[in-house]
Amino acid sequence: MANPAIDPWTRPISVAVTGSGGSGAVTAGLILLAAAARAGLFGLMMRSAGPQIRGGESAAMLRFGPRELGCMGDRFDLLASLDWGNHARFSDEISLDARSLVLADPQAGPLPGSISDSGAAVRMLALRQEAAAVAAGRPNMVAVGALGAAAGLPLDALLSGAMRTLADKGGDVLDAAFACIRRGYGEPAGTAPTLQQQPPPRWNISGNEAAGLGALRAGVRFVAAYPITPASEILEWLAPRLERLGGALLQAEDELASINMIIGASFGGVPSLTATSGPGLSLMLEGIGLAVATETPVVVVDVMRGGPSTGIPTKSEQSDLDAALHGLHGDAPHLVLAALGIGDCTFTVDWATRLAERLQSVAIVLSDQSLGQSRAIIDPVPPVDGIAPRGVVPSGAAHEDDGYRRYAPTDDGISPMALPGTPGCTYTADGLEHDPRGTPSSRSTDHRAQLDKRRDKLHTFTYGDAWAEIDGKGDLCLLTWGSCRGAVMEAAAQLREDGIAARVVALRLIMPLRREALLSALAGSTVMVVEQNHGGQLFRYLHGERALPAHARSLARPGPSVLRPAEIAAAARRLLQETHDGCIGHSEPWGEGL
């Protein structure tokens, strides 16, 4: 049944399952993803749903292959539709062509025009009928079997994937699933599987889970938060695990409370974090400023969604960069980092937390819906090391006669922090400008000294190489940040296939900008800045820091759909053509246009 052109061990393949809400498209996707992992493949799964809370329609979009996958591809190899009810909603996201294969249930009614027009091959498969033959059988499980077979996955991987995914359902459900998968696979009989081969030790993880793990690794033991899409899963994952580690999660009454709760906890000495999305970030800004002014380390993870305002809560966009960089009133330097992929959510949150603790500063970590709510099969991410913990006044330390100086100037701008409970070091942290002891002051000299200190401690720190991921060489440089890195890397690969050498620079530490390092990474190249927002927010920021050559161009395209490798590669080709023709003019930062 396998299609010889489809071999996920050779090149990544893309598979989609769509259906109306409740049809189980997402469960089918999760099983296929787990199956791919069991079969030793890497994988990625994104999901898409309509506005309905329950019901409506949903789609699981998967990709698996022999290497880590940072983005969906440009096209789909396989599609199984559980019904055609709202398929139109996904036709943009799931592009098919003559090389694609569509599995359709004749009982589901006529094919939508978009399918016939795509030129994809269609194979009829009686999903409902096959499922009906099994007690409590469900068509989505038949689809799992059929897609798995078409994708060349071993049956035992599929069954084992189902076992993992349906672990908390009853045995009857599992038995029915097994039977349906077998029928879909075309091997209706058989016993329960034992997977022959031990799969490599990989993670099956979502970006939101990965962010939670990064927090735990860095020592976060207190979280206060208010639920919001698409950040809630970070909190849901952390709540029971914090408890297991002796920490706690507190559900706050709102985001004003949650940011202030973590400031209080961190003042008490416990590394603390909150997670939110755009509207919550807006509400937290006053509190974040307080943490900056009092030099209380906290971490805010913003899982971005479509903006402005309530925007498009279930879809991804990189449009909160401006607010994260510049949203605080007053001069309030802090750290802004972006996770470069699903697994990188672990690294970046881990690193950000350690930096915030070390530098007694705020770190805002930008993730987004496309990372947070997608799952991947990846190699485990190593923990961060080499950053000293928060500098704390040891209990019993002697200090000057004039009292403990919480905000004393030091060479690196970091003043040791006395935690409550330390005898002899009582002080009051204050959001008012203050002198070195923390006493409110409106003197120019105190203001200047503290402004300098809060800026310089961030600028003079040695951050090492993790400020960016840099790949490849070439005269063309694709400069990007956050979740776009996956698609940009794949675009660079496509360009290389065309003989165009391209380097990719993906920023992880956005503020403070490692300007000199960035300038040397860009040196001599034609630069295109790729990001998923309307205003070209990174592009403008980098120009503001005078960290881009004058000819740099912007590829900024808003959500809700994520950027595709081919879209980026095409823009790069146009740019090179223009450069070559000598007609490259002043760069308009708005529009995806070049």
């Binding site: 793990l213 207190f222 507190l250 009454e253 709760m261 009292g403």
Partner: protein
């Protein structure tokens, strides 16, 4: 408890060397004294005490107490204190502020702190005005007080009833003190700090500058006529009938203290176990 029996010995040690910005005669001075006296009386080690506040004249209090302190932003003292207490159950965490800070911008946190019943003491110095911003009406201001330029005919709306709201929100300890009665206030503060759970102390603390007529409070306050009741429904009626000038414990009950993440059952498992579960 006989409040006059509280010894003042050591109270001075709890005062910091920072000079208050308050106007001469401000009620907040007496609250500060009553508090330091209480801390001395209870013998709470300075380094194991933290005073958290928002913004306002009253909210400047933490810097004047020689303990750990946090002078946060306007209206957010209670959540900051909740986080601190969750992280550091070993500390005595006090929260101080004004009627504007606590009942206007901070009203939501007040409601939820009452419900949450963490072991915090919340002292609101109510002068029925925004002192720090020079005399606007606060939620507790009488509806016909017409001396704020923002509401030149008075607010025209009902006053906020701190004790009634605290009770409806589920607070387990509610008392009212008066800065003109420092001994009585110390006694209430001591009870509040010792109360396991959220204790709300509503302190009438006159503003000399913008509400000089509050000097008359001295004549208007009276002891609370109701017996501390443990029946919230009954207390609700009594507090509604109260004239807002009754001093004493208005309500007190013993219910489980909420102490997130600090249960003795919280096993300190290794992170490795959690990481293992991620394997595909």
């Amino acid at each position: 408890m006989d409040a006059s029996a509280i010894p003042s010995l050591g109270a001075k040690d709890y005062k910091s060397d920072i000079k208050p910005v308050w106007c001469p005669g401000c009620g907040h001075f007496t609250v500060l004294s009553a508090l330091t006296k209480t801390l001395a009386y209870l013998g709470i080690p300075k380094h194991l005490c933290a005073v958290v506040s928002g913004i306002g004249c009253s909210s400047r209090l933490p810097a004047y107490v020689d303990s750990y302190g946090f002078h946060g932003v306007h209206g957010r003292a209670l959540p900051l204190a909740a986080g601190l207490k969750a992280a550091r159950p070993d500390l005595t965490v006090l929260v101080a502020g004004g009627d504007g800070d606590g009942f206007s911008i901070g009203g939501n946190h007040f409601l939820h702190a009452c419900r949450r019943n963490m072991d915090l003491t919340y002292i609101v110095m109510d002068n029925e005005v925004y002192g720090m911003t020079k005399g606007q009406a606060s939620p507790t201001t009488q509806s016909d007080w017409a001396r704020s330029k923002l509401t030149p005919h008075g607010t025209g709306i009902r006053r906020f009833q701190p004790a009634a709201i605290a009770l409806a929100a589920g607070a387990s300890f509610i008392a009212r003190g008066f800065s003109g009665d420092p001994a009585g206030l110390s006694g209430l503060l001591a009870q509040a700090i010792e109360h396991p759970g959220f204790a709300f102390v509503h302190v009438l603390s006159p503003c000399q500058t913008f509400r000089p007529e509050q000097r008359a409070w001295k004549q208007q306050v009276h002891p609370c006529r109701m017996q501390p009741t443990h029946d919230a429904a009954h207390a609700a009626e009594l507090i509604q009938r109260d004239d807002g000038m009754a001093l004493g414990v208005l309500y007190s009950e013993q219910i489980p203290v909420h102490a997130p993440g600090t249960g003795p059952t919280a096993a300190r498992e290794a992170l490795a176990g959690i990481e293992r579960e991620l394997l595909s």
